[in-house]
C-alpha cells in the first residue's frame, strides 16, 4: 500500500513540475488518469517493490548523497590538478575490492558511487567483488573504499552485520 501511495505521489509531483498546469481542469484530470494507468501497469507487471519506490530509504539516501557530493568535489579537484600539470604523471591501477555491502541495492549504490567519483571507475561487478580502475595509485586506498562501502550499506538500510532491515 505504501509503495502505491509513494509512486502515485511521486508521479503526480513529477507531472505537475514538468507541465506547470495547476488550473486547467481537463489537463489536470488527464494527468491524474495517466498516473492511475502507470500505477496500474506497475502493479500488473509486479515491479512495484522497494526498489521502485524506496520511500523508507529516502532520508538515509539524502544524508548519504550529501557526503558523496563532498567526496565528488574533492576527487574532482585532485583529477583536475593532475590533468592540468604539463608534465603529467599518472599511476593507473586496476584493483579488486572485496568488502561490499550485502544487499543488491547497496552494491549497486556502491558501484555507482565509485563511478561518480572522478578518478575511479567500476569496471566489473560480481557477487563478491568490484574491479575498479583508478587513475592515481593514491585513489586505491583500501580504507577509503571500506568507508564508502560501510556508508552505502547504511544508506541501503542494512544493519551492521549485513542483514537487511525489514520494514513493514
Amino acid at each position: 500500500m505504501g509503495y502505491i501511495a509513494t509512486l502515485a505521489l511521486m508521479l503526480a509531483a513529477l507531472w505537475l513540475t514538468l507541465s506547470g498546469y495547476f488550473h486547467n481542469q481537463l489537463l489536470l484530470s488527464l494527468g491524474g488518469l495517466s498516473v492511475v494507468i502507470t500505477v496500474a501497469l506497475a502493479l500488473r507487471m509486479r515491479i512495484l517493490d522497494d526498489e521502485a519506490a524506496p520511500y523508507y530509504r529516502a532520508p538515509r539516501l539524502l544524508a548519504y548523497s550529501v557526503w558523496l557530493m563532498v567526496e565528488i568535489i574533492k576527487a574532482n579537484l585532485i583529477v583536475a590538478k593532475t590533468i592540468l600539470r604539463p608534465n603529467m604523471v599518472l599511476t593507473p591501477r586496476m584493483v579488486r575490492i572485496k568488502t561490499l555491502p550485502a544487499s543488491g541495492f547497496g552494491r549497486a549504490l556502491f558501484a555507482n558511487s565509485i563511478t561518480l567519483t572522478p578518478g575511479t571507475v567500476s569496471v566489473d561487478l560480481d557477487d563478491d567483488e568490484v574491479i575498479v580502475h583508478a587513475i592515481l595509485k593514491e585513489m586505491t586506498n583500501k580504507n577509503d573504499f571500506a568507508e564508502m562501502a560501510r556508508r552505502c550499506a547504511w544508506a541501503a538500510g542494512e544493519k551492521a552485520d549485513g542483514e537487511e532491515e525489514v520494514s513493514a
Binding site: 590533468i83 561518480l116 567500476s122 587513475i135
Partner: protein, 124 residues
Amino acid sequence: MIEWGPVLELLRHGTAGAFMLVGAIFMLIGSSGVLRLPDFYTRIHAAGITDTLATVLLLAGMMIEAGFTQTSAKLALVGIFLFLTSPTATHAVANAAHKAGLKPRLGTVEPPHPRDVDINEKKG
C-alpha cells in the same frame, strides 16, 4: 537610504555568473584531459569531471539565475537524472571495453609535454 533590491539582484546575477563560469572552466579542463590522456580507461576519468562537478556548477548557476520558479525545479530534476544515468553509462562503456579484452596501461605513465606533441600527427 540605500535601495537594497537592486543590490541583491546584482549580487544574484553575479553569483550565478560566477558559478556558470567556473563550471565552464571545469568543462574545459575535462575536455583537455580527454585529449591529453593516453588510453581509453584514463580518458573516462577526465570525462567524469564534465559529468559531475562541471554539470553541477552549471546547473546551480542556472538555478540561481532562474530563482524560485518552475524552471529551477526542472533544472534540479535534470541534475538528479544526470546523477542516476551518467555513472550507469560510464560503467556500461568501461565494462564493455573490459569484457572485450582491452588492456589498460598500468604502472607509471607520463604523457608528453604539450609543447612536444606534433598536432598534425595522425593518431593510429
